[in-house]
């Protein structure tokens, strides 16, 4: 198998001293138990492929795709090995050699056809407004899987007087780099063109993955506007509501470990919820909900099992409400909840909207 992408990661793979400090809190290893599922082993397997010491088979492919790219391993690694970079490169080479997951290929096809990863009819949130300050970008999961939550978020922004317009969205493509496919340059151009047409100075994202993609993906160079996550906006606004309920917060990996936004969402929550309780694993050590890295699409049960563990950690705080600000995390955590579990799960912005409408306490 040709390993063109992995070639440039040789230095990281050699720098890995194999100390296994990355085993600590690796959510996939915790679920599966086999060492081959852990972060160190993904580096070892990638190196084995690059050196032609092993041939790709089903388990090697599974192991390399059983990674949420949550980056907990990179936090733990004193040698600063970019495990996520190695895994992405390995996936790229695997896909190049035809070892892809059908769910991921179909997602790519769906985006080509419909502009979203689900292949569903386009749902536009039309707020055409000339001279708006922000263009809103909501992302595939919010629009197609957490629509009710998203509507509340949008309603909140209106209630708070945020000057908003919408654009003709297509998938930002962030997920494709994670699962070994190439994200579409044409889609990126389309988004850039739409932002330009909207004549705004700021692009407001509700999805941390889209946020990160706009900030980091070279396809979005020249976007020409400031990119903000919704929590960054909410931090600056007056929030005219309070709740006495006990609240806890789940750090989305794309917002926390990947974007270093730990304090911002907490500052927002503290504005309206003085009874805030951290989970035992929080900030840079927050356990992943299991939705990321393409795992939910290709290993759904594994993904939900991780979400169940994370949800239990939230319940263990004694909180009545679990907040996050990521449609993917929200969706996965809600799917993991059993009927008897009373904890309520919302995005921060959704919960604020409900609070303002008096629909929650």
């Amino acid at each position: 198998m040709k390993t063109k992408a992995l070639e440039s990661w040789e230095r990281d793979m050699l720098r890995c001293i194999r100390c296994a400090y990355c085993f600590v809190d690796c959510p996939i290893l915790t679920e599966l138990g086999w060492e081959s599922a852990g972060a160190r082993s993904k580096v070892i397997l990638s190196y084995g492929l690059k050196e032609d010491e092993i041939e790709c088979n089903q388990l090697i492919k599974d192991r390399l795709f059983q990674c949420c790219l949550c980056a907990q391993c990179e936090i733990n690694c004193p040698a600063k090995v970019e495990v996520g970079g190695v895994v992405r490169a390995a996936r790229k080479d695997l896909v190049e050699a035809g070892h892809y997951f059908e769910a991921h290929r179909v997602m790519r096809e769906m985006v080509k056809k419909t502009g979203n990863v689900y292949g569903e009819e386009k749902k536009d949130f039309h707020y055409p407004k000339v001279g708006a300050e922000f263009a809103l970008f909501v992302g595939c999961v919010g629009k197609h899987r957490e629509e009710e939550s998203l509507k509340k978020t949008v309603a909140l922004l209106k209630k708070l007087g945020v000057s908003l317009t919408s654009i003709d969205e297509v998938c930002c493509g962030g997920v494709f780099g994670d699962v070994g496919f190439q994200a579409s340059p044409e889609d990126a151009e389309h988004i850039k063109e739409e932002v330009k047409k909207a004549k705004v100075k700021k692009l407001l994202t509700t999805c941390p993955m889209c946020y990160r993609t706009f900030k980091e993906d070279p396809r979005f160079e020249g976007l020409g506007v400031e990119v903000l996550h919704i929590t960054e906006l909410l931090e600056k606004l007056d929030l005219p509501v309070k709740t006495n309920r006990k609240i806890t917060y789940h750090d989305p990996c794309d917002l926390g470990r990947h974007s270093d936004l730990y304090d911002v969402p907490r500052n927002v929550i503290r504005k309206f919820a003085p009874d805030f309780q951290e989970m035992s694993k929080n900030r840079e050590n927050a356990h992943c909900c299991g939705a990321g890295g393409g795992v939910r699409g290709s290993f759904t049960r594994l993904s939900i099992d991780m979400a169940k563990k994370r949800l239990q950690e939230a319940i263990d705080t004694g909180a009545e409400v679990l907040l996050t600000e990521c449609a993917s995390c929200l969706h996965n955590l809600k799917n993991a909840r059993k009927r008897k579990q009373k904890i309520q799960i919302y995005n921060i912005s959704e919960y604020l909207s409900l609070l303002m409408d008096g629909e929650v306490g």
């Binding site: 050699l14 001293i17 400090y21 086999w34 060492e35 081959s36 388990l59 192991r63 004193p78 040698a79």
Partner: protein
């Protein structure tokens, strides 16, 4: 073979897949050799059945914890079965009134300490890999860590063991008492046996009361030799700090680069810790400070802030992997990585290692549990250059010759495995036949981790495939 093993542990706990065979063929050493199959038992009964089967077929069996060993002890040099014992991770009993706990081998060191804390106790061995390494592996390699100076190594904490022998018999060694004089101390023989005599399936470990208070200090030196002298002098006064660590410039710069540790970038740094009741160790801290100053230390910082202490020890425990960050295109090769000398010879040991580095035009860092006479030798090599490996091998020979000359020992806390075996054999040459005799009594068919310790190949470099891209040297 697979059918029999699956019948014991279930389909989901047996794998002969290339992915697992490749991954379980390595640890934190430079060696790579794949097993035929990986099995994950969950009970002593399952281990017994697996060993009975393997012994009958004369199939090698290599027990494995977290695979954090740096000498290749868990690398299955002859293939066979790797026994992944991490599922056996129950803490069976904590009895503070009897000062012991009973645990399974897959319990992680730091997790044990988390569970002991509410009782007001702790398990003293403190390997830097404590967050991931398992008790079974610690016993098999006689791990120690920075607090061994005061509290001893793992061997000093092992009161009793349950061990599955090669023929599948389950035996109990030692006792659940803090002293015993009932004949041969076979539980001690198991400590450091690296899986060659039996499979440890349960350990009764002595625990100690958590000290009421701890204070840490940091002292900076312009010269490494001054720090070496200071260590020897502190120990010679009879003071027993709970930790006395040395870091040289390579170690300091590595953690600064990797973690932004912000340590002063000088030739050497000493970290020390005293614990107990402050009123009693306050005097010791004063004495240590005076000796450090006499030896040329400056910028001595002392703190009893728990967060400061935690940060400092976190930095220290990160040195091993962080050294791979020291210089572009150089990686840390685990060789001669826990050499140990009498503490009075520490300066000569450290000076000698750096002289060897200069003589061979190599980059070698030194740090470690200096109060125990242990130095971690960090060889930083460009693994792609064959010539660099030639000089490295020569330097490794010289480091071990120096250690023998100083009256030291090949391994202080990581074990022998494959990469230290040639030097261990030189050090213990008058005991090799006796050790082989012991091995034969325990394991007549030589199935348990064969070709390790006294039976390991003569040249560590060609003993297995290496994990580095130096194909032309194989």
């Amino acid at each position: 073979m697979l059918e029999e093993l699956r019948a014991v542990v279930g389909d989901e706990n047996v794998s002969d897949d290339a992915a697992d065979r490749y991954v379980y063929g390595s640890d934190a050493s430079m060696h790579q050799s794949s097993p035929s199959v990986v099995v994950r038992p969950v009970s002593a009964g399952e281990v017994q059945k697996i060993l009975r089967f393997a012994n009958g077929r004369k199939i090698p069996v290599v027990p494995r914890g977290a695979g954090t060993g740096e000498s290749g002890s868990a690398v299955p040099i002859d293939g066979g079965i790797v026994l992944d014992l991490k599922r056996m991770d129950r803490i069976l009993e904590v009895r503070p009134e009897d000062m012991f706990c009973r645990v399974e081998p897959g319990v992680v060191n730091d997790e044990l300490n988390r569970q002991l804390k509410p009782y007001g106790f702790f398990f003293p061995p403190t390997p830097a890999s404590g967050k991931v390494c398992t008790i079974g592996g610690m016993i098999a390699n006689n791990a120690s860590g920075m607090r061994a100076m005061k509290y001893g190594a793992t061997r000093d904490a092992v009161l009793g063991l349950k061990v599955v022998l090669a023929n599948g018999d389950l035996v109990t060694m030692g006792s659940a008492t803090i002293i015993q004089a009932s004949g041969y101390q076979l539980e001690r023989l198991m400590v450091g046996s690296e899986g060659t005599l039996g499979v440890i399936v349960e350990a009764t470990l002595r625990v100690r009361p958590l000290p009421e208070e701890r204070t840490v200090g940091r002292a900076v030196f312009y010269e490494l030799t001054q720090a070496g002298d200071a260590i020897s002098k502190i120990v010679a006064t009879g003071i027993v700090p709970s930790a006395l660590e040395l870091m040289d410039e390579v170690a300091i710069k590595s953690v600064n680069k990797a973690l932004g540790a912000g340590l002063p970038e000088v030739e050497a740094l000493i970290l020390f810790e005293c614990d107990g009741v402050k009123a009693s160790f306050h005097h010791e801290i004063k004495k240590i400070k005076r000796i450090l100053e006499e030896c040329g230390a400056f910028d001595i910082v002392i703190s009893d802030d728990p967060q400061e202490m935690e940060k400092l020890w976190e930095v220290r425990s990160s040195v091993f992997p962080a050294t791979s960050m020291y210089k572009e295109n150089r990686i840390r090769a685990t060789l001669a990585e826990d050499v140990t000398a009498p503490v009075s010879r520490l300066r000569e040991l450290v000076e000698g290692i750096h002289q060897i580095a200069r003589d061979n035009d190599l980059l070698i860092g030194t740090y470690g549990h200096a109060g125990e006479g242990l130095i971690h030798t960090a060889f930083l090599v460009d693994p792609r250059l064959p010539d660099e490996w030639d000089r490295t091998r020569k330097a490794v020979d010289e480091v071990f010759a120096l250690v023998r000359h100083l009256g030291g020992t090949t391994s202080g806390e990581h074990g022998i495995g494959i990469s230290k075996a040639p030097y261990f054999k030189k050090e213990r040459q008058d005991l090799l036949e006796l050790m082989r005799g012991v091995k034969k009594v325990f394991d007549p068919n030589n199935i348990l981790n064969p070709h390790k310790l006294m039976d390991a190949p003569e040249d560590f470099f060609t003993a297995t495939k290496l994990r580095y891209p130096i194909k032309e040297r194989r």
